[in-house]
Symmetry: C2
Subunit: 345 residues, 2 copies
């Protein structure tokens, strides 16, 4: 395992995207998201995706200098045509616009179509929360979650992300796929050649499997409930403004790298100050979090946490140790440029 310095790595990724003629603003958002996400320990959605994104730019799936069309349809709403921009970039523009509109009206909602993979949903919701807003971010994704009572997948892992500011620490952040586990977890078991728990995934006939190599679809959380939440996310991210639904999206890795995926996102920002004083809110939410952390523990050896706490702990660790990366992934970075060697801690 290699360990990388986050700020040196960020600069190198920025240079790599700049060499590819990606716009400065997009570079800022993409690299900020990838570094933040890796620092938070969400390795499936952080820097590990960078070589893939470079290939996507080179092939034209992600447009380096996109025409992003923002259609503000009312005081609190807009629809953005991303023009196949980096999802991280158009998502940052969208949540910033949601905050701007909500600053006047109390709440705003922005739909984004014709986008690409946006990385971690947390990046956008946290962006609103650090400005004193409640942030929501959603995206659809290619069909990987088995439809309830069917053999087949229909919705993607369609995540729900919710973030809100706290008085004494970085914001509360829930960022969760509506599947029980991520596809990445299945991939980890494939690499280790180990059986998966029986309720995680299904084979091509929709039967539960423990062999990760036979897995074709994932379990939703709470059976029909997670299936319903996945549908809610797809309605907000696609049906609402005529975008492509999960079932019709190309897969991230197995579709031709030049093919544009036309992913949809949905963002909301709530202006807390239109409901309460921001101080009262952050104090009350801090009090809730502190009360939860001081409940009786099931297991005295385990920390009692709220959503986002494992990520906060990870940030502290990685600020010291750097961002870990396996040898194979590091070779992928070196194939982009030997300069990446200089990011080693």
């Amino acid at each position: 395992m290699k360990h990388l310095d986050d700020s040196r790595l960020k600069k190198l990724m920025q240079k790599s995207l700049s060499d590819r003629k990606v716009t400065d603003e997009a570079i800022l958002h993409v690299t900020e998201s990838l570094i933040q996400t890796s620092m938070r320990g969400v390795d499936s959605h952080g820097i590990n995706l960078f070589p893939h994104y470079c290939r996507a730019v080179d092939a034209g799936r992600v447009v380096r200098n996109p025409e992003i069309k923002i259609n503000k349809t009312a005081e609190s709403s807009a629809v953005i045509d991303a023009g196949h921009a980096f999802g991280h970039h158009v998502g940052a523009l969208a949540i910033d616009l949601a905050v701007e509109l909500a600053s006047k009206t109390g709440i705003a909602a922005i739909g984004v179509k014709n986008s690409s993979h946006f990385g971690a949903a947390a990046y956008f919701a946290l962006r609103a929360a650090t400005k004193g807003y409640i942030g929501f971010s959603f995206t659809n994704a290619d069909a990987l979650v088995k439809a309830h009572s069917s053999k087949d997948p229909f919705f993607g892992t369609n995540p729900i992300c919710f973030a809100a500011p706290l008085a004494n620490e970085s914001p509360f952040c829930l960022d969760m796929a509506t599947s029980l586990v991520s596809w990445n977890k299945i991939n980890n078991y494939r690499r280790m050649n180990q059986p998966i728990p029986a309720h995680w995934a299904f084979d091509k006939e929709g039967k539960p499997v423990i062999d990760p190599h036979l897995a074709k679809s994932l379990s939703p959380i709470g059976e029909y409930k997670g299936f319903g939440l996945g549908m809610m996310v797809d309605v907000l991210c696609a049906v609402l403004f005529g975008g492509l639904i999960s079932k019709d999206l190309l897969a991230m890795y197995t579709s031709p790298i030049e093919a544009q995926r036309k992913i949809g996102h949905f963002f909301m920002a709530i202006n807390i100050s239109k409901f309460n004083s921001l101080d009262a809110f952050t104090r009350d939410l801090q009090s809730m979090v502190d009360r939860i952390r001081s409940l009786r523990k099931s297991d005295e050896s385990q920390e009692l946490m709220v959503a986002g706490d494992p990520e906060k702990n990870c940030v502290k660790e990685r600020e010291v140790s750097g961002i870990p990366m396996d040898e194979i992934k590091f070779e992928e970075f070196l194939s982009l440029s030997p300069d990446f060697k200089t990011a080693l801690k």
Copy 2:
């Protein structure tokens, strides 16, 4: 089992509330919600609660002629102090206001504090959906779901409800507690004296139980994910505007009936026509629903359904057969007034 005619029962409930000097508008909303909910087969939140609600009015928990204070804080936001009104009533006012504000601005959000039990969340979201809006409704509830990694409950079953209009049938509606099963289901097993599945509930030490009589808290859906969703609901329904959080709410049945519960709700409406033509939206959502229903079935003997389909099937059945009610519950109605006999089918 008795079977009751919905329209006769509704008139009798209306008279019973009118005799109690409940306001006409509140009577309309309460009885409409209870009948709709029972027709949809959600017997835990429909007419079975009516005798309890009458006792709550008689004791002063629910105020018969409340002072409801609506504070419109911006173009798309409002906070309502319910003054201990029927939750069904203030909730209907709130979602109607959300629709009115969103008609101009695209989206609106309304918080409600100092309220009472609002029945089924679906009543409100469906109210928005039948007007061509996406409706969201949320409520907090007394602490019944075990906190992740703790022995103790912290959040209520805090439901999430989402509804949206369809082209060829009544709206799509997902109405789900963030717990794996409802407390009502535990109560059913108690009545039958039968063991519950091992992953549904926990005893007072937070250990999984199969004896329903020992159950003190419920499992959230998807472990930490459902716990996080329950927290999101409590942030929206209480922390956002300084209301009481789940952990501090009195229980519905075991607290003194005269004690006001101060429940919080949160509602959002999205004006679809600010994102797409309403016709295109309802047609595209209908197409999604139809495609799901025609996927390959896991079990050929079972219908492939989306959220809300079981409720739609139940409405069709009960339009013919009436609303079922067990003998004990029917006696409770007769103790309110012998007139309820005339509602028998």
